[in-house]
């Protein structure tokens, strides 16, 4: 019923048809913490509200330190009264179209996971989906932590098992490769299954299988050669993939400073830092071997599979194809310390949103 739009809080009461119900529903929504200190846009259906009713709504909202910024109503009567009280009448969808500033802060992989889980928790009716997500979690765990692990043991596996397997590793280093190979096969099957099921979750989103590529990269990026076969099976290659690979690549070995603009109709690799205030636009991928703090726009030609990679992702804004996201306000770091060890990060589109993944060891 409610949605966020930065500091605008939209309350949709379009389906409620009597004034007392509206006020009752509203007071229960306004009890929530997230409604505080916001500009509230009220969406009403075809209900005639009189002056006293609108005033009481207004006082309800001001009681929680928020402002009633606008009302969207189908009733002409309500519109007249609201206008006489100095409240803006707006069509919410039209108002939002003017908000160009990217309202979505970019997410981290954990946030995405949490979100998916919480969404699924909220809707337990879709049991099928829920199971898939559970499975996804398991696979991630197994891939992150353990090299040797069979599919059946997924659930029962504890840290003790990991230790055991590590011991095995030390004892029988020769067998390792064979075992790995076996596991790879299992995982490959597993993955393909999940890919099919993923379509259920993500629909026919163009970024449908990227979620898992990264996870496997996370755990074993040292085995890239082998992995590359597994990550994207040949039949999964799309037009966009081929397009990305056929792009030329430009290498730039310098620090990109504020005000500098780099445009290239291909992939860009920058060996050095990108300071705040610079703009990098590429048709393909952007890879920064350093700290990325400026604005990066990958896939400027509309390529949804383009990615932005950096040793440290601190970009003010990330844009991939037609997706925009801004740095979360909580990440207001004045200065990024240069250390010897970075955790490389990669941003890509998942389900229409830009998500930043950390490559953990």
């Amino acid at each position: 019923m409610e949605q966020y739009n930065d500091n605008v809080y939209v309350i949709d009461l379009g389906e409620i048809n009597t004034a007392p119900e509206i006020i009752f529903e509203l007071s229960s929504i306004l009890d929530k913490d997230e409604a505080r200190n916001k500009r509230i846009c009220l969406k009403l259906g075809n209900v005639d509200l009189n002056q006293a009713q609108i005033l009481s709504i207004k006082s309800l909202i001001s009681g929680i330190d928020s402002i009633l910024s606008s009302i969207d109503t189908k009733s002409i009567e309500t519109e007249k009264v609201a206008l006489s009280l100095g409240i803006i009448i707006s069509n919410i969808s039209a108002e939002n179209s003017h908000e160009v500033a990217p309202t979505m802060p970019y997410k981290t992989a954990e946030e995405l996971k949490e979100e998916i889980l919480s969404q699924e928790n909220k809707q337990p009716t879709k049991e099928e989906d829920y199971n898939i997500v559970e499975e996804v979690e398991e696979i991630e765990e197994s891939e992150n932590n353990i090299e040797e692990q069979s599919l059946e043991d997924n659930k029962e596996n504890t840290t003790e098992d990991i230790k055991e397997s590590e011991q095995k590793e030390q004892l029988e280093p020769q067998k390792e490769d064979v075992e790995k190979q076996n596991n790879e096969d299992i995982k490959k099957e597993e993955k393909e299954e999940v890919f099919d099921e993923l379509d259920v979750i993500f629909g026919s989103s163009p970024a449908k299988n990227t979620f898992f590529d990264m996870e496997s990269e996370q755990s074993r990026y040292e085995e890239k050669e082998e992995l590359s076969d597994i990550i994207v099976p040949e039949q999964e290659y799309t037009k966009e993939d081929i397009e990305l690979e056929s792009f030329p690549t430009k290498y730039i070995k310098q620090t990109i400073r504020s005000g500098q603009v780099i445009n290239y109709e291909g992939n860009i690799v920058i060996i050095g830092d990108c300071h705040p205030g610079c703009e990098i636009t590429a048709f393909g991928d952007i890879t920064v071997w350093g700290i990325l703090s400026g604005i990066a726009h990958a896939g400027a030609g509309g390529n949804q599979k383009a990615r932005v990679r950096a040793l440290k992702m601190n970009a003010i804004q990330l844009r991939i194809a037609n997706c925009y996201s801004r740095r979360p306000d909580s990440l207001n770091t004045v200065y990024i310390e240069k250390t010897n060890s970075f955790t490389p990060e990669e941003a890509r589109i998942i389900n229409g949103e830009i998500v930043v993944f950390k490559i953990n060891d």
């Binding site: 500091n7 003017h98 500033a101 990217p102 003010i316 925009y324 306000d329 004045v334």
Partner: protein, 272 residues
């Protein structure tokens, strides 16, 4: 609605034009006025940083001028105050990207929807300055009690008097240190006023909180304890036509008398 266009300028760099713009704008918006801040320092923009809106800028002043977007699309709303908007400058271009006529057109358009249009002027007296003052009818000259800043302010006042559109200008004396004035190491407020023979609209004390607030991207007027914040709120009220007495900024008691004298003198001047 016919808004007032006020340019904030100084001539010398680093005296606090941008800080003043951000704080006066925020203070006016807090008082319920609709305010838009226009950053004309193309290529060296900072106003977005002070307001903490750096990560929200998609379109800039240059995009509006070159008609890549609508004016409404380029206005970035403040995080906290919906009355406050920012029209940011482009970082990747230079001052020649916007001409005086083009800025004038934009301010004319903004006048219809906003009560106050505050134009943050770049340092210097070249094209950037001429562009910034083009649409404005009022000016606030920011200076510090240093000889170099006062000289530059004098030059700027001369240019403002010569300019067509500017109907009135006021002086804002920034970074005043009462303790240094007391020990005769700094020009006093009335010294500066006498040298420039210009009406002051506010006196802002030196405050270390300004640095923290800049780094955090939060204007100091949001900090109610800060003396500089209070001084900026008073300036905003004076701009709005209220009669607000000057803030008692000095810590040592001996100076109170001096400042009172100065204030009395001002009142007399006003009456005359």
């Amino acid at each position: 609605m016919a808004g007032r266009v006020i340019v904030i300028t100084s001539g010398k760099g680093g005296v606090g034009k941008t800080t003043t713009s951000a704080n006066i704008g925020t203070a006016l918006a807090k008082n319920g006025h609709k305010v838009v801040l226009v950053d004309t320092d193309i290529g060296l923009r900072n106003l977005d940083l002070l307001l903490g809106l750096e990560n929200r800028i998609v379109y800039t002043l240059v995009d509006v001028v070159e008609e890549r977007c609508k004016l409404k699309q380029a206005l970035v709303k403040d995080k906290k105050n919906p009355n406050l908007c920012l029209l940011a400058a482009a970082q990747t271009r230079d001052k020649s990207s916007v001409s005086a006529e083009q800025l004038k057109k934009i301010t004319e358009k903004l006048k219809k929807d906003y009560d106050y249009i505050l134009v943050d002027c770049p340092a210097g007296i070249e094209q950037g300055f001429q562009t910034a003052i083009a649409g404005a009818s009022e000016a606030i000259v920011v200076t510090t009690p240093e000889m170099s800043a006062v000289r530059d302010a004098d030059r700027i006042i001369g240019l403002l008097e010569a300019a067509d559109g500017i109907e009135s200008y006021k002086l804002l004396i920034n970074r005043v240190r009462p303790s240094m004035i007391k020990s005769n190491d700094m020009m006093s407020v009335d010294d500066v006023v006498n040298i420039l023979s210009c009406q002051p609209i506010g006196v802002i004390p030196e405050d270390t909180g300004i640095i923290t607030s800049t780094n955090r991207g939060e204007p100091i007027v949001n900090n109610e304890k800060s003396l500089a914040g209070k001084a900026y709120i008073n300036v905003a009220r004076r701009i709005n036509g209220e009669d607000v007495p000057f803030l008692d900024i000095d810590e040592p008691k001996n100076l109170v008398g001096k400042l009172k004298k100065f204030l009395c003198g001002l009142k007399k001047q006003g009456k005359e």
